[in-house]
Symmetry: C2
Subunit: 151 residues, 2 copies
Amino acid sequence: MTDELKEDGYEEKRIVPEPLMRWTGAILGRASQKVRDSFENRMSGSCLKSRHYGALILLEDGAKTQIELGRLLWIDRTTMVALVDELEKSGDVKRERHPEDRRAYLIQLTEQGQVTLARARQIADEVEDEIFSALSDQEREQLRELLGRLI
Amino acid sequence: MTDELKEDGYEEKRIVPEPLMRWTGAILGRASQKVRDSFENRMSGSCLKSRHYGALILLEDGAKTQIELGRLLWIDRTTMVALVDELEKSGDVKRERHPEDRRAYLIQLTEQGQVTLARARQIADEVEDEIFSALSDQEREQLRELLGRLI
DNA sequence: TATTGTTATACTCTATAACTATA
DNA sequence: TATAGTTATAGAGTATAACAATA
């Protein structure tokens, strides 16, 4: 039940029943789930999940150790290993030794990774515009502001 | 890395780095994750996870089959089995044969389930007030309205 | 033929514990 | 002693396939 399209193509309506609408956390969770599902559905062609995409965005800012990356992505260091493995395998990222700390790696975006990121960002922007088309630009900005204060 | 409190009690700051703030889906996902974590953290005393709580809320409205319940909770029917098993084991719910469809069960809230629900709702309301204390009542209502349009 | 509930199974995501090599 | 990265492992959560009983 990960998305609206079932195997035979009929559209499964995902509603939030009225008794749950009084529970703000439930609305938030369901909106988040729907947005994430739509996003990953449309990004599936590029083999990137949202976590990979997030990592690429952060690395564009400059090379980072796995621990730093994990802290920014809310991902445990043991989980980061596989994530970086995958990005390295696809050639979007490379591990380099940290010049000042021989325990650590610096994860760097490769040239190919920059291309992947640019392409992914284009798709992601399209998807976001689609998902948030129910809101005006002003409302979307308002939503971001309100959510930002919850974190 | 499920919550802000680490084993030794120091508080892990969960921030959203600026490059990710431009990605609305990321903000939404992180807000949702934080709210869910806080909620389940505080509800852990009552042994209810958010899905159980959601089920009890829906059953207050009247008995439902597992399929109906699953459709309202966005939970697959194979996953519903264990969820109902747990609620039945704790005595909050009972399976009764559907009078008009001998394939189906009707899941009913027991008297004890009503007590559990009332107690859980009290805690949940407190938790929500705490979580959303960064927003005024009006802003919180606005957030619900905006999120509702995304679903 | 289709649907409800069920089981077995597998896959993803994530965290804990323990290790190594450094600091 | 503490930290970065790693592995093994185990626990959630969820989905697919197949089945029995019933519609």
